[in-house]
Amino acid sequence: MVDTTAPTTTAMREIEPSARPRAVRKPRGILVPLWLGYVFLYLPILIVVIMSFNASENLFVWKGFSLRWYPELFADEKIMQGLGNTLIVATGATAIATVLGTLLAYGIQHYTRGGLIRAFAIAPAILPDLLLGIGLLTLFSLASVTLGLHSVILAHGVFATAFVTAIVLARMANLDPSLEEASRDLGAGAVRTFMRVTLPQLAPGIVAGALLAFTLSIDEFVIAFFTTAPTQPTLPIVIYSMVRFGVTPEVNALATILLLVSVVTVIAAQRLTRLTGTTR
């Protein structure tokens, strides 16, 4: 998952009108599998979106256009409680991750030689979420920590930190080191250089990392499933029990809104990464 953004950013960096020789002839049929792939990826989502405007209560029969499920969604207490919990968790986890991830990335880039600390910092992004989830459950239980939103925040902070670290590290590699050297040559200390020279240059990357950490935390299910109290479900846990015990068309409306939020966030993060990509 770490790499979900990395290749796209390589693509951006490489936008320079560099050599792409037209010499190799490309058969037109090459785009067919791509379009088929998109049909596969988008058809299910499209159906959910269309059905969110369905007048009927039947999930499988279209009975004309209606917006009725949207107000019903906002009247649903369980969903609203889940949404509130999710926002609290995502905000907390993002705050932890943004601070720790940025510091870690800076420390790793400037003070470590080998990849060991780097690998350790990014490990939570690769570790199976199931392992992290039950591991944290056993830890909290051993330490007699009552489960609740605080435990989910701490848990989500772990993988969110890994993502922020990875993204800020990637941005940092693009910065011009001579600016920092200049700052040090002029007598600024490590902390001052970091605050006045490095941080402003990294800002777009940090914001992109924070946005991704936030989105990931909103969507995260498995870890939250193991580390929260049944009375404090996050939104994905509410959706899980809805899908498990009988779906109402509200789910379609909820899905459509979440989809919209994700699209906006991803595009915003994309723009920010592009920003840092060009200011190298």
Partner: protein
């Protein structure tokens, strides 16, 4: 902080300066040690002890949990998970490769758009994407409606709650994770290599087979790991679109924690899963190192 005294030190990047790294590295490292290394270590430790009567553990050393893994029931579930995740990975490779190849061949502007289009579904809620397949595969669902509308079948075909549905669900979930690393390795290829092949008279297919394909294997292996790893431990898809009839390792772990209340055995299963994944990653790294060092030097 002590580094203020040495403003002229060259090559700031690699020099260790006393306590300077501490304020940057310590907070994050302490956090990750507490909430990642410690929990995982604790699980590893628990695998050698007995279960408590109502969950939790009793500190009496035993190897029973590791022996239990070899009972036919559990061996069966583990093998079934490997087979299902393997099929998913293979299908993702077969579908993802042409997609990544087509994207790498687009103009830079369209490449970005095409890539974002691959990533976007991945950023929509995991459970919602699972739910979408319930809408599609249900007996009254859209696929059955289309099949009947087109006169292909008369009666609905049972698609939901089958192992095939699990494969489709997992494939749908993780396909973007295959396309991205494949694309990354394909677009890094020096186009002049393929050009040279064509100039020397190779047909496009031969140029692809002898130049592009071998050089993209490391990317393909990374993609396979990105798909295989989460597919192995997923327990939501087998439950929601597999109907709980086909059990994978993830389901077993979850059930040990929440139903059987056998935490030590659940921990053992989860650790086995992780060991398997580490083996896969080590093999992948070794293979791609050999591959990239081989042809490029020669």
């Amino acid at each position: 902080m002590t580094s203020t005294n040495h403003p002229a030190a060259p090559a700031a990047r690699t020099v260790r300066r006393g306590l300077a790294p501490v304020p940057f590295l310590a907070p994050g490292m302490i956090y990750l040690i507490l909430f990642m290394a410690l929990p995982v270590g604790l699980l590893a430790f628990y695998t050698f002890f007995k279960r408590g009567r109502f969950g939790g553990i009793v500190f009496e050393f035993t190897l029973d949990n590791w022996v239990k893994l070899f009972e036919p029931l559990y061996v069966g579930v583990i093998l079934q998970s490997i087979v299902l995740a393997g099929i998913v990975t293979l299908l993702a490779l077969l579908i993802g490769y042409p997609m990544a190849y087509a994207i790498a061949g687009l103009s830079p502007k369209w490449r970005t758009v095409a890539l974002v289009a691959v990533v976007l579904p991945f950023w929509t809620n995991f459970l919602i994407r699972t739910y979408a397949w319930i809408l599609l595969l249900n007996n009254a669902g859209w696929v059955n409606q289309w099949l009947q509308g087109l006169g292909i079948t008369d009666a609905p075909i049972s698609m939901l709650y089958t192992p095939q549905a699990i494969v489709v669900g997992l494939l749908y979930m993780y396909l973007p994770l295959m396309v991205l690393p494949l694309y990354a390795s394909l677009q890094q290829l020096d186009p002049s290599l393929r050009e040279a092949a064509t100039n020397l008279g190779a047909t496009p297919w031969r140029a692809f087979r002898t130049v592009t394909l071998p050089l993209s294997i490391p990317g393909a292996l990374t993609g396979c790991i990105f798909v295989f790893v989460p597919a192995m431990s997923n327990f939501v898809i087998p439950e929601l679109i597999g109907g709980g009839k086909t059990i994978m390792v993830g389901n077993l772990v979850r059930d040990q924690f929440f139903e059987a209340r056998d935490w030590p055995f659940g921990a053992t299963l989860a650790l086995l899963l992780t060991i398997l994944l580490v083996i896969v990653i080590v093999v992948q790294t070794a293979v791609s190192r050999r591959l990239t060092e081989g042809p490029r030097r020669g």
